[in-house]
């Protein structure tokens, strides 16, 4: 079995232990490994934090982040449903559909959140006017996602990623 497969199996066992579905012998061996493997221990702690957050036991900022993500997803799904509905109605119900489409479009164009883009009125796009000096800010999320998926990422950036992830009270040197 390769190291990668070992790692996967370990994660599966951790997950089973979280759900109280791991047999006693395997659970004992896993807990022993946690004593000697700080990586495994930290994963265990992080998963517990996540679970605590779902049970509303986590710090407020963690819950805020989860709620924001859920709200954003709900908003987007609602908009997508509206767009799909307007298309279907247009094909299926002929002349009557015209009125419904108007309603659907009106729904999409409610004040506060505009439906993005349309054939008749292209959305105005605001672009940056000049390069700005970046401090660690919301932009770092975009860098992280790019590095996570793309292969380039910048050779030096892995060090930056690691340094930013150093737990409090610990140091690289």
């Amino acid at each position: 079995m390769s190291k990668h497969e070992d790692y996967r199996k370990e994660q599966e066992q951790l997950s089973a232990l979280m759900d109280d579905e791991l047999d006693a012998d395997s659970a004992r061996r896993l807990l022993e490994r946690m004593q000697s493997d700080p990586g495994l221990g930290l994963t265990w702690k992080r998963w517990h934090l996540t679970q605590a957050g779902l049970r509303s036991e986590a710090p407020t900022d963690v819950l805020d982040g989860v709620n924001q993500a859920l709200n954003a997803e709900a908003r987007v799904r609602q908009q997508r449903r509206q767009v799909q509905q307007s298309r279907w109605v247009g094909f299926a119900q002929g002349a009557l559909a015209a009125g419904l489409v108007v309603v659907a479009v009106a729904t999409l164009w409610t004040p506060g959140r505009h439906a993005p883009g349309s054939d008749s009125a292209p959305m105005e796009v605001q672009l940056p006017t000049a390069e700005v000096a970046a401090e660690r800010s919301p932009q770092s999320v975009y860098w992280s996602r790019h590095v996570q998926y793309a292969g380039t990422g910048g050779q030096g950036r892995w060090e930056e990623t690691l340094r930013s992830a150093v737990p409090d009270g610990e140091s690289a040197l």
């Binding site: 790692y7 006017t129 860098w143 996602r145 998926y149 990422g153």
Partner: protein
Amino acid sequence: MSSGLIRVVLSCSFLFWAMLAGAEPQALSPDTTADWSRTLLNASRTQEYNGVLTVNEGGLQVAYQLWHTVSAEDDTEYEERMRVLDGPLMELVRTPERVTCLHAPGTEVPADHGVPQSPFASLMLMDPERLAANYQLWALGDERLASRAARVYELRSQHGEPRLVHRVWVDAETGIALRHRRLAPNGDVLADVRYVTFSPDAADVPPGFRTTFAEPFWHQFEQAEPTRDGGADEVWQLAPAPAGFVRLIDEYRNGEWYQLWSDGMVEFSLMVEPVNGEPPEPVMERQGSTLLMTAIHGDWIVALVGDVPDALARDVLTRVQWQ
């Protein structure tokens, strides 16, 4: 391709390349471009070598010591170790299966994402066929680099839209990349990775390599599981896509769209998410050859991150549409 075969191919073509030395830049055919990139990719994986290399990118300058060893039974099984020489004590170990960061004796951290697969990360991304379709390979001549005979090449986009230029120095004996410069369309050097010493063997991997580390810390990278070519849920579209770019990843998660595009040589990420609260100002920042630019589309933020020039990023951001 075995390392022996690579050396034979390189030796047989030596006369041809020698004729180019000192001559005017020569444009090479698409077939040659595809073969060139395949050979380069294989050589760096299937041969043993070691050396010291420096990375200059985005104001960051770091030196590394690198050993690349190959299994005696199977030359596709390799292990690459990279130790930081003038920064925090860290070491990377790369195998075909995974990348691991070592920070202390016995401390291993899986790092499947967030760490480039090679010091020459951009070259490792190469897709030979797509590269040959989108880029013209030029042979610029011969130079010496790290006390080695090297051939110099340049990859220039075949499309009218602005792209980065890639200049690559290739070891004449082994076919391994010794240096990679990424240049802006105006010639500015954005990133430069190069060996300062290079030896085509890995016999002197130091024993007790991991014992050089001080107090340990570690970090486990999150595993990302992108959905490739999801398609069905997509609502945001890049239309038309920049010439030669194809979409590799298309996923929707937590209210955000993520897409990864590639032209066989470089990649860029495209992210779309709703604005929460007051719309932020659009931003543009560059770290070496990699650019981040955002645009505001009504109540949405569109962000691009990748190795593209400013002008291409602007074009892409204005072409993103709700379909």
